[in-house]
Assembly symmetry: C2
Homo-oligomer: 428 residues x 2
């Protein structure tokens, strides 16, 4: 089909009329579908049901001599630390296991820096200005944490290799108010980009103006591949930072939320020995210990990383067809129209779509009118403000394949309709 950009006003007007008729038909179906959050489907949850049976009243509930039912063990039971250390690719002594939420660990990390500083530096609450770098598009819940603490957020464009490192290097080395950067380095949220080797090594070799600058490395999708034979590889950042003489510059976060059960997983932080010791000082005030029975449940269910990989393949078998529906529909319906761009991801939970500038909000609203809920336009940017109003995050995991096919028909129709309207106004 002819590109919308190349159409005459008359052709566009005819196209718009046709699309409006299609839209009216679809709206009459009273659909109600949700593609807003990266929420696993019930099928995916069923994969882990064996976890409900690994512990019973006849189980040995000890790990390394510790009764997992009782108080104690601040940083996680031995076997859970070993499993998560393996998953996050760091030595076991550099890991602390928390509760069910890595987001909560990130919140606590920012909050602790705000109230108590970082390895002896001035607490951020005593500073006039604290800034974070935010690769965009990015994860709305990251940006919400820094916004909650009044931290100024600076947009960093995402390239195909990761954040624009020229910009990151220049800002980090020149502005001591910049205390952190939010990163989803593998199968990034929402674009599915994995940081290139060069990007990771440039991160490890940063020369921050602020001694308390930290990379917030949220490896949320570290083992969340879609394809067995075509996977992205990410250099391990803690080791890279250590080799670059910057061992304390990074906090790594991970969880099993999208491996076992999203509400009942196990989350962890990994960092240098000095950072871990500082975190423990807070943790010993904050709690007597996290849920060790749930840690034990994970250890008994997966055994080791081979077990995790085995279950991740089952997730991939469910997710892969969904991602292919999204990408194939985008390609089939919009491929030649020059009204949108996207990257086909090899893992993670999202497909990121960039519309013509100024169209994202209208597309999301139009989808809503037809019963399809998408993540709010702008959500992938700090303060919910997408300067170009063009990025939309598509989350294919929760709907069934049939629902998703329908939802993507509606989505691409809305993209076409809003784009045609926009271009018509411009040509007028």
């Amino acid at each position: 089909m002819k590109s919308y950009i190349d159409m005459t006003a008359a052709e566009l007007a005819a196209e718009k009329n046709k699309l409006e008729a299609e839209f009216a038909q679809i709206k009459a179906k009273n659909l109600k579908l949700d593609m807003s959050r990266g929420k696993p489907s019930a099928d995916q949850l069923d994969i882990s049901m064996g976890m409900m049976d690994v512990l019973s009243s006849s189980s040995d509930l000890k790990c390394d001599g510790v009764d997992c039912r009782n108080y104690g063990v601040l940083c996680g039971i031995t076997d859970a630390k070993a499993l998560l250390a393996d998953m996050i690719e760091v030595p076991v002594d550099n890991v602390i296991i928390y509760g069910n939420s890595s987001l909560n660990i990130m919140y606590d990390t920012v909050s602790r820096s705000y109230t108590h500083g970082v390895l002896g530096s001035t607490p951020w609450c005593k500073l006039d200005k604290v800034k974070f770098l935010c690769p965009v598009p990015g994860y709305d819940r990251h940006f919400a944490i820094t916004e909650f603490f009044g931290i100024e957020m600076i947009n960093i464009p995402m390239l195909e290799t990761g954040p624009d490192m020229d910009m990151v290097e220049e800002l980090v080395s020149s502005d001591p108010a910049i205390k952190g950067i939010w990163c989803v380095p593998k199968y990034s949220n929402p674009q599915g980009i994995t940081y290139s080797d060069e990007t990771v090594l440039r991160f490890a070799n940063l020369k921050p103006a602020a001694e308390d600058f930290r990379i917030y490395w949220d490896n949320a999708y570290g083992v969340h591949h879609l394809y067995e034979d075509d996977q992205d590889y990410l250099i391990e950042i803690l080791d890279a930072c250590t080799k670059a003489g910057n061992p304390d510059m990074v906090y790594k976060f991970c969880s099993t939320s999208k491996i076992s059960f999203p509400g009942s997983g196990v989350a962890a932080i990994a960092a240098s020995t000095a950072n871990i010791e500082e975190i423990k000082k807070q943790l010993t005030i904050q709690t007597i210990g996290h849920d060790k029975l749930n840690q034990l449940r994970h250890v008994r269910f997966y055994g080791d990383m081979d077990g995790v990989v085995k279950y991740m393949k089952k997730h991939a078998d469910i997710l892969r067809p969904k991602f292919e529906i999204v990408c194939d529909t985008l390609e089939n319906k919009l491929g030649s129209l020059e009204i949108g761009k996207w990257i086909k991801p090899k893992g993670g939970y999202f497909v990121s779509f960039d519309s013509l500038p100024g169209c994202a909000k209208a597309i999301v609203a139009k989808c809503k009118e037809a019963g399809i809920t998408l993540t709010n336009a702008g959500a992938t940017y700090p303060y919910g403000k997408d300067p170009k109003d063009s990025n939309i995050r598509i989350a294919p995991s929760f709907p069934t394949t049939d629902e998703l096919k329908m939802a993507m028909q509606v989505f691409t129709l809305c993209v076409k309709l809003v784009s045609a309207e926009k271009l018509l106004v411009e040509k007028a």
Copy 2:
């Protein structure tokens, strides 16, 4: 036996020689017993083993239409809120369920007030001085939180009716830097005192100089009675505050840590609607939700408060003989000697012992020498400083009854020995 106070120096010296011989014999036994923390025994944990079986892969894992395995539900599943609301005696809408640790909720509450203030007041981190009142003796982990945030702690003597309310009223109404008071209102840690009706009502009717003053009401032992027919009763504070026109003045905390499994219980906060709304604003930034499967496990195991009460009787059957060993040994060995005071508690987890002034550290050290670990002397006071050096917390729950009998023999011997030494020096 004759009171040590009434003995002559010669009598005391003879007594001391006899005690030293006894101590040498006991020390030779190389004992290794721990009465330091309020940790349930393995017998108590066994009571709840049925909880390991209530959920399996064939269970219905929904509650009120919510799939408890997935993301979502910020404040707790419906049935868990109902159970905990009943336990903490407040309306269900005034409860938020957290993870496994009420200490963590208290930490988060202080931390949020420090970073964001309380219902619009100035964040504590922006103030020159913040103070907390600390009824003493009290709970070391409470004091550790306020110390961690640099909050000045003021000792308030505990009376048999609860904190000295004359002092509380005067300080709270006159000093706007006083932002809170730590309370364990029922079977207090460590004395086992339950606040009288008058005390609770005086709390509810406080007229704080600071609009952001809050009562931190840690009802850790609300259902932890030792006797079925002789239980303390505590007026419900949230309702009392509301009736007094101070609905926002209190945060209540509770958990099932000493009901189900200490490491894997469910914790909650209860407060006024305004406070709950403010807490939710933080919570929605902090997490996507706490572990709903563990909430469901508790709901299915207990059913309702009758179920909780039934299990608490089983705990009491195990704990009661231990508390009686402690109190009987104190009475038998020290009853007439005038070298110590204690209260026989009707619930909770501790017996508080007050030695002659200046003896507590020496007694704890002497016990340690004989292989008995007690909570550090001073731990029941802010900054670990007991001005009289006289309070010792005894935690009878973890040892077996046989171990406890031996430990109390050693303890009372050490009390006598240290007291005799002290009195001899004074008489010299």
